[in-house]
């Protein structure tokens, strides 16, 4: 006997669109977030990610589509009936209330008995490591502490979904790196379904179960962090996440790719891409290396080394390829002198397994 358990997703977006007059902020989004999952909406500013978050929160009404929270359609429910927790980019703490009062607000609105409020507020402040700071006002706290208050305030109400709108972008680098680990670990511990909005790819990679890369109001690709990084589906995703050598060209009859400048790249082209189709060949700079002699196998592009950049842990070798294309190799800095000097004639090489051929969008 086969038992299939189809869990209701905690959050489901179906065909969500948001237009502002002629401007389309969100152009049709379908997304299922399962219970306990941490999903990141990642994209450049203006891609519609924050608008999508606002639509889930109920701050505005979608032009089209439906949103389900635990199976319940909520598009017509006002924000205060949706049972969501939101952490805003600027935290949006209530400046006239203490940290504890801020955290208690959602419970007060839910008419939780005072004794229970006190206990849950203390627990929430404890959870975000602010025990004992409840009597401070937001203005007396550091940016990092305010952020923790905002998180505690959103978590204490046990929302169906936790929404985080670029909560780390106002913190300095060190604190940001600490907080992303901490937020992710709190999220895993509580098992709370979370949608996180960011433009910072490393945040997305570190924190998420799945990443939805957004561009121009749509999801370009959705997958777990390694999917997105290792197997980008489009040029946009390939370029937006990490760094990439990209060569644009056309598939030849011989199943190679020829760039407009005449560089022929002998990379196996997947069956489903027809000869003549416009494609991009994508290969990560850290998955390539420089050779003096042409390798027997794999991608090999001949060129002249133009520049060596010293970045501390790594070096970047920028190569001008035959035909004028440019490529670069990122190599760990092992302490030895770089094997090549600018001006050297080199081969930019990579195993074919590290190369991807992406269909160009028309």
């Amino acid at each position: 006997m086969e038992i299939t358990v189809v869990a209701e997703p905690a959050l489901r977006l179906v065909g969500i669109e948001k237009h502002y007059g002629p401007t389309v902020a969100v152009a049709g989004i379908d997304l299922d977030v399962i219970e306990g999952e941490f999903v990141t909406l990642l994209g450049p500013s203006g891609c519609g990610k924050t608008t999508t978050l606002g639509l889930i929160a109920g701050f505005f009404h979608p032009t089209a589509g439906e949103i389900y929270l635990k199976g319940r359609p909520v598009v017509d429910l006002p924000s205060f009936q949706r049972d969501i927790g939101v952490v805003f980019q600027d935290y949006a703490l209530f400046p006239h209330m203490t940290a504890a009062e801020n955290v208690a607000f959602g419970l007060r609105m839910r008419k939780v008995p005072p004794a229970e409020i006190a206990k849950r507020v203390a627990d929430a402040l404890d959870l975000v490591q602010l025990a004992g700071l409840g009597e401070r006002r937001p203005l007396q706290m550091s940016g990092g502490q305010r952020q923790r208050v905002a998180l505690a305030r959103a978590l204490v109400i046990n929302p169906t979904v936790l929404l985080l709108d670029e909560p780390l972008s106002n913190l300095d680098l060190k604190l940001r790196e600490e907080m992303r680990v901490e937020i992710a670990s709190i999220q895993r511990r509580l098992g709370i379904t979370t949608v996180f909005v960011t433009h910072d790819q490393s945040e997305a990679l570190v924190m998420s179960n799945r990443i939805a890369v957004m561009n121009a109001g749509r999801i370009e690709q959705i997958g777990d962090p390694s999917d997105i990084y290792e197997r980008p589906a489009t040029r946009f995703v390939a370029e937006f996440i990490g760094r990439m050598n990209l060569f644009s060209g056309q598939v030849t009859a011989a199943r190679t790719v020829k760039t407009a400048r005449g560089l022929e790249i002998g990379v196996p082209v997947p069956q489903e891409i027809a000869a003549g189709a416009a494609v991009h060949v994508a290969v990560r700079p850290e998955r390539t290396h420089l050779l003096r002699d042409k390798p027997a196998d794999g991608l090999a592009l001949r060129g002249t080394l133009r520049q060596v950049l010293y970045l501390g842990p790594t070096r970047e070798f920028h190569v001008e390829l035959e035909g004028g294309e440019r490529g670069f190799v990122e190599a760990p800095n092992d302490g030895a002198a770089p094997p090549f000097e600018p001006g050297a004639s080199v081969w930019l090489a990579a195993p074919f397994a590290n190369c991807r051929v992406l269909p160009a969008r028309t």
């Binding site: 701050f59 205060f80 049972d83 949006a92 209530f94 006239h96 607000f105 959602g106 007060r108 109400i157």
Partner: protein
Amino acid sequence: MATRFLSARWRANDGPWALLRAVVIFVYVFSLGPILITAAVSFNQTNRSFFPPRGFSLRWWERAFAPEWIDPLLFSLKLGSLTALLATLLALPLAFALYRYRFAGRNALIALTLGPLMLPTLVTGVGLLQLFQYLGWREYIGFTALLVGHVVICMPFAVRTVSISLQTLPPNVELAAASLGATRWLAMRHVVLPLIKSGVVAGAVFAFIHSFTDVNLSIFLARPGEVPITVKILGFLEFGFAPTLAAVSVITLLLPLILVAIVERVSGLGDFIYGDHRRG
């Protein structure tokens, strides 16, 4: 550290600072001077308004506290308080509508609301008097007409201060309140109103002071027995400036000052009176 820096600046820029000092002294002489002279005159022993005062007596003060003066004073207090209350209650939703929403007729509404600031109150007064007469509401001339007129001329102050405090409202706090389960009304009561409180209180105080000190409009809408203190003072001036008037003037001056001091103590007007932007 700070003082050293400051004193260095003093030395470096002596010229401009001397000028500033001169301006400050000038302002104080001409704003405080008349008040001090009036106060001094009220203690004259003679029945002429000499300055410096000749002799010392409190008899003019005694007279100032007679019903002849106390009644208009109480009348003005009542009028000013009611005006402040009504103007602020009307200004709150108006400021919200004007500041938050874009709608047809918004500019017209702004012009109508803030118009009385630009218009000479004298003209508003004459206009209101004619309106009341035209409508056959003669019996309302007096307190009711004064209240209407004062609300019209005082509301712009309240609308301004409330709008300003709405602009300094931190963004997203209302959305945050909504996401935490607060209805619009609860978000208003627990988040928005406490945060714009100083603007609302300042608006009420300005409205009160403007009402309490108005003479231009009141002069047309008063009737015997329903006379604000300012109109009463103006009428009495026909008989020359008696020391009684000096005493009454000092009282009239102190009342709003005391009010401002109390409000400042209780709720703080810092933002609006001193242009300070601390918020707590």
